[in-house]
Each structure stands twice: as C-alpha cells, then as structure tokens.
Symmetry: C2
Subunit: 196 residues, 2 copies
C-alpha cells in the first residue's frame, strides 16, 4: 500500500524518511570505511534503495558526505570560485574565499566542530583527510598542475590562521579586519602556488 490520494501516509516511507535513512547509513559507512572506502552503491544497498535514488537526492558521493556529515562547505562551490580566478590572483582569491567562509558564524561553528573532531579522533581524521584530498586537493592539482605539497602548504597557512584567530583568539589577529588579513596572506599563498 502506498500513500493514498488523500495524502495520508501509507507503509511506504516518504521522501524525507528515505533521505534520512540514506544519510544515517552513509554516516555509518563513512565512519567504518573512510571516505574512499564507502561507495554510493554500498550506501544505497545498506539503505535498501536504488543507487539512482541516492544520486537523485545528493548528486553523488561528495554530496552524500556533505549532507550526512553536515559538512559546512561544499567543495564544488569553493573550487568553482577559485577556478574563475586568473592564475596570478589565485592567492588573493583563496584568502578572500577562506575569510568569507570563516567570517560567517553559521559556517564557523560547524567548521570548528569538524576541525576539533579531526584533531581528537583518528577515524574522523581519516575521513576528513580522504574527503579533502578527493574533493579539493586532487582537483586543484589537476586544474592548475600545482604540486599537492604546495597546495598543502597554502592550506596549512589558512588553517593555522583560523586556529589563532577563531580558536585561540590571539590578539591582534583575532580582531584584524578581513581586508588586512587578505593583504597579508595573498602574497604568501600566491608564492606557495606559483613556486611548484
């Protein structure tokens, strides 16, 4: 029996219920197998649905992860903003995107939660490492031919500034204006990305 014409729920789960079930299975599989080890097909099998439905809801494994982990960034959106920048303004664009994301309190709290759990939990660190590699580091390397270690040096600069500014709240970097930080970080990020 499916949902009747009256709109009353029947025994078949509605789309919201199915979506939640997929996300719960995804969380379990990502935690068990890491980002690389879990597949869209495996998540669908666990949830007892067709892989096409998972694809329809979330667009792909990356989208399932972002939704399941309530990950505060969509790497696809980030990459698109960065890909539009001219090569000689990559550093400035990265610094600007980075500060935009962190300046928004609604995204900062979950970002901090992600950083904290990766710092204190091996399983979370593995998931995060694989997810960031697959969705940001590898595509950026392919897009610009920049060696991964150079991208990591730039990411390290930004993560460290975020820790001092938003976690340890060290002054004066905690209260500095975003444009002051962009001016300070842009040349360094550009250097990292240019000297591969």
């Amino acid at each position: 029996m499916t949902t009747g014409a009256t709109g009353r729920p029947g025994r078949r789960p509605g789309p919201t219920e199915t979506r939640e079930k997929i996300l719960a299975c995804a969380r379990r599989l990502f935690a068990e197998k890491g980002y690389d080890g879990a597949s869209l097909r495996g998540i669908a099998r666990e949830a007892g649905v067709d892989p096409a439905l998972v694809h329809h809801f979330f667009g792909g494994k990356q989208g399932v992860f972002v939704a399941a982990m309530q990950f505060p960034l969509d790497p696809g959106v980030l990459l698109e903003r960065i890909a539009q920048a001219p090569r000689d303004r990559l550093g400035e664009t990265l610094a600007t995107v980075f500060l935009d994301v962190w300046s928004d309190p609604a995204r900062r709290a979950p970002l901090l939660a992600v950083l904290r759990s990766a710092m204190t939990n091996e399983q979370a660190a593995t998931m995060m490492r694989q997810f960031v590699s697959a969705t940001l580091l590898r595509p950026a390397t392919e897009l610009y031919g920049i060696p991964p270690i150079r991208i990591q040096a730039a990411v390290g600069q930004m993560i460290g500034v975020a820790m001092l500014r938003y976690v340890l709240e060290v002054e004066p970097i905690a209260s500095a204006a975003p444009q002051e930080l962009v001016a300070m970080l842009a040349p360094v990020l550009q250097h990292h990305l240019e000297h591969g």
Copy 2:
C-alpha cells in the same frame, strides 16, 4: 621536628614533596586565573612556601608553568636559538627550529596534547594564548620590532603545517623530508617577518 642527622624524614616535607605541592597549586591557579592572572607570589601563598623558594626551584613564573603543565617547549631556549640568527635568515631559522621540535616524538606527543586541549577547552585555550603571548610573541616583538600580527601569521603557517603533517597526516606533506619543508617554508616565514 626537622629531618634528623640520620637522614630519616621528619615531619617537614622534603624538597620533592614541596616541589610537587607547588606544581599542584600552580596547575590549579593557572587553570583558575589564566597565565596572566596567576602570580608567582600567589602560587607560593597557596603552597604555603616562600616566593623565593618557588623562584629557586623554577626560575620564575614561566618556569613554573612549563613544569606544572609539562609544557614540551621552553620558550626561553627557543627564543635564544632564534635570537642568534641573522635577521635575513630568521625565516630559515624558525622553520628549522620548528621542525626540530616536532620531529622529536618525545616532544611531539605532549605538543599535540597541548594543541588538542587548547582546541577543545576554553580554559586551556586562554592559558595557552596568554602563555604564548607573554613568553614568545611579546619578547619577539621587542627583540626585532616585528608587528605581532606578522609574527602570528608566521606562527599560523607553522601550526597549520604541523596539523596537516602530524595530526591529519595528509600526504605528501606528512612524509616530506624536513629539508624540503624548510626550503618551502623559509621564504614565506621570512616574508611575514620582514614586511611589517
């Protein structure tokens, strides 16, 4: 009754016991009042000893903190190594000292513990912020006249690389040779410290 000529312990506590008592009181006071708010005199009062004895054991408040928190770095030793570098090799010296410290597993574990607790505990973050400001950032500013935000940008670069290399263990930065990292980081650190 004090320790007799035979060396048997009397009722007065021996030096080890007194030292431990001072450290226990210091841990409580640093946690309660932060690094800035706790004084050597206050720690001595809590422990029921003369401030001169605390000074004799630990050299000063900084030494009490390093001992009480089992802090894996002595900022005085670090500053001395950095102060000996010519100004135009500050970046290289900082990168080298930084990798020396982190490459030593005996110091890495407690450093990670410090970073983790500062990431997850507000009280630990306050203590750490005040301690690092008083013992590293302010002296470095006075020594070289470098604006604190510039020193913080350099420290941010190093903390971020440490997180990627030692906590998240992202490849290839996790397995890179120290000299490759020094070559990569030195010019960036030098830039931060020169362009105040």
